[in-house]
Amino acid sequence: MHFIPAANFTYPNEIELNWSILVVLYPFITGLVAGAFILASLERVFNVEAVKPTYRLALLTALSFMIVAPLPLQLHLGHPERSFEMYLTPHTSSAMAMFGFVYLWYLMVVLVLEIWLDFRHDIVLLSRSTTGLKRVIYRLMTLGSQNISPGALRFDDRAGYTITIIGIPSAFLLHGYVGFIFGSVKANPWWSSPLMPVVFIFSAMVSGIAAVMLLYMGTTKLRGEKINQDCADTIAKYLFYAFIVDFSLEMLDLIHRIYEADESFRSLDFMVHNSLWIPHVIIQLLMGTLTPILLLAATQLMKLPPVTRQRMYALAGSLTLIGIFAMRWNVVIGGQLFSKSLLGYTTYTVPLWTREGLLPAIALTLMPFGILFVLVKLLPPWPGSGPSAKLGGLHAETSGGRL
């Protein structure tokens, strides 16, 4: 028999949820960034040749989402005009105060620099071959460096490799840090867990890999090209492995909570069986975790024709993204649906038009795809599509081969 509270009591100030759907978007988007970058690093650092066709696309995807990542937070603040104070007078004991610095480090030092170094050859060639506004844009993007001598390109390659190596722990830092913002709130038993940053890192990998896999298959189809089956199979394999670790960690957390059954357990258990039943059990666990894991396991264990595999990957990837979004929702919103008195519960309905409503959330979710569209037009990431590749240059395969 499940616990039924004697009265639904919440502290009088707990009449509204303080962190809305926009705060759900923040870890979802940063997770996609971190995951996409880790997929890119597979090729660059760990020499997984099969995923080469997605290398540049993964980097541009990470950048597109990273540009949008702070916007939900900015929109959420009561005084967005004061947000710059976090840079000027950061409160060093605050986990949140580090956001600006972690963000800037990752965006400017890792992503932008790596993308610039990787595309510099193409940018310089395009700044010479294009005309009009495009020429101006490419000339600006060269940052005044027109040197594409073999020595300079070799330096770009080495520097890019080094940045990727720095970027892997940075990606872990970025999303582990987001998990820490929640995991370090001792007042909230649903959040407070040292496992939270680790779960966030692995769920980030899962969502980022799934997103790049879907984008790769989708854009390849749209361009009328043939999907590289080896590439899709390899990404799906890594998605499966990351998912197993992610699922194991989440189950470890769940089993620990059930077995330990501390003072918050009855309250949280009641919530999971009622207000969180659909988003947590049905959408996150059954639909968004177990189903894609089973689909991916089937593709690993059974010999299936390529088209069937691709369809299964597409389905598994889509369900994964829904599941990871649900996970973010259940963490952020779920963590606020019960009273800190542990004696009552509240509800959350997403408003439609307000500043923190559904429409701004949808707009912010779509925005990275718009940015990616522009980036892809400026810096074609497709295998063999850049001008350097056509010249048979250093980046001839991804576009490029490595030195």
Binding site: A6, P12, N13, N18, W19, R82, T89, S93, M96, L343
Partner: protein, 247 residues
């Protein structure tokens, strides 16, 4: 000192002074912040649930409707519901407590009813202060946790971090608010509005640094607890005669 160094120093000094001002408590003549360490003593047995404190606080501090810097909870516990008491606080007890409707209360053996006033615990190790990304919320040298409304971002992290539900976001100012322990009054030698309005002296402002404060004698003779001691926040709202069921 050359001109370049002077200009650099002036800019740095301006930023530093701005930050000093942002964290400075309200000043009051003849008041030495280092001579005090404020706390609140609440005797649960004396509270009659009249709601005077809530009304006085609301008027004194212009608390927005529907939010509370202090409130009172009514507990009903019987021997079958020690872990699951019946609690209510209609409108924060601003209008007192109507009797429970017939059949709504607990009726088990050992049933008892009592009132628990709540307010910010002005924790010595307050999680809300720890998490504020810009230091807009801070602890004064005399032990009061305050919010600088001109600096608060409205990120709500402090609201999430408070284990006691004492903070809220002002619906018009969009900044965090909470009990200030009537800092504008206590630094002028007055007591808090809630203590002044309490007809049974259930609430007593206490200065732990003052050797002549009656709290020392009270603490010596009574069993005193804080809420949620496992949170280790260094809470300074001390409760006498607190039932174990209170959250």
């Amino acid at each position: 000192m050359n001109r370049r160094f002077f200009i650099t120093l002036t800019g740095a000094a301006a930023v530093a002074w701005d930050s000093v001002l942002a964290g400075a408590p309200e000043s009051s003549p003849n008041y030495k912040v280092t001579d005090h360490w404020w706390a609140m003593l609440i005797d649960v047995d004396k509270c009659i649930g009249c709601g005077n404190c809530v009304r006085a606080c609301s008027v004194e501090n212009d608390v927005p409707e529907g939010f509370f810097r202090t409130w009172v909870e009514r507990y009903q516990v019987d021997d079958m519901h020690l872990d699951d008491p019946l609690v209510d606080s209609p409108n924060g007890a601003k209008n007192g407590f109507p009797p429970l409707p017939p059949g709504k209360g607990l009726t088990g053996p050992g049933v008892k009813e009592f009132f628990v006033p709540k307010l910010c615990n002005h924790c010595a190790d307050s999680p809300c202060t720890q998490v504020c990304p810009v230091g807009a919320t801070f602890t004064t040298p005399d032990g009061v946790v305050l919010v600088d409304e001109t600096y608060c971002l409205g990120c709500r992290y402090c609201v999430e971090a408070c284990p006691y539900g004492c903070r809220f976001i002002h619906p018009e100012k969009n900044v965090a608010q909470k009990c200030t322990l009537c800092y504008h009054r206590i630094t002028k030698g007055l007591t808090t509005a809630c203590c002044e309005a309490c007809p049974t002296s259930s609430r007593m402002l206490a200065d732990l640094k003052n050797p002549n404060d009656p709290i020392h004698e009270f603490m010596k003779k009574h069993s005193v607890q804080v809420l949620k001691p496992h949170m280790a926040t260094g809470a300074k709202a001390f409760y006498a005669n607190l039932d174990g069921s209170v959250r």
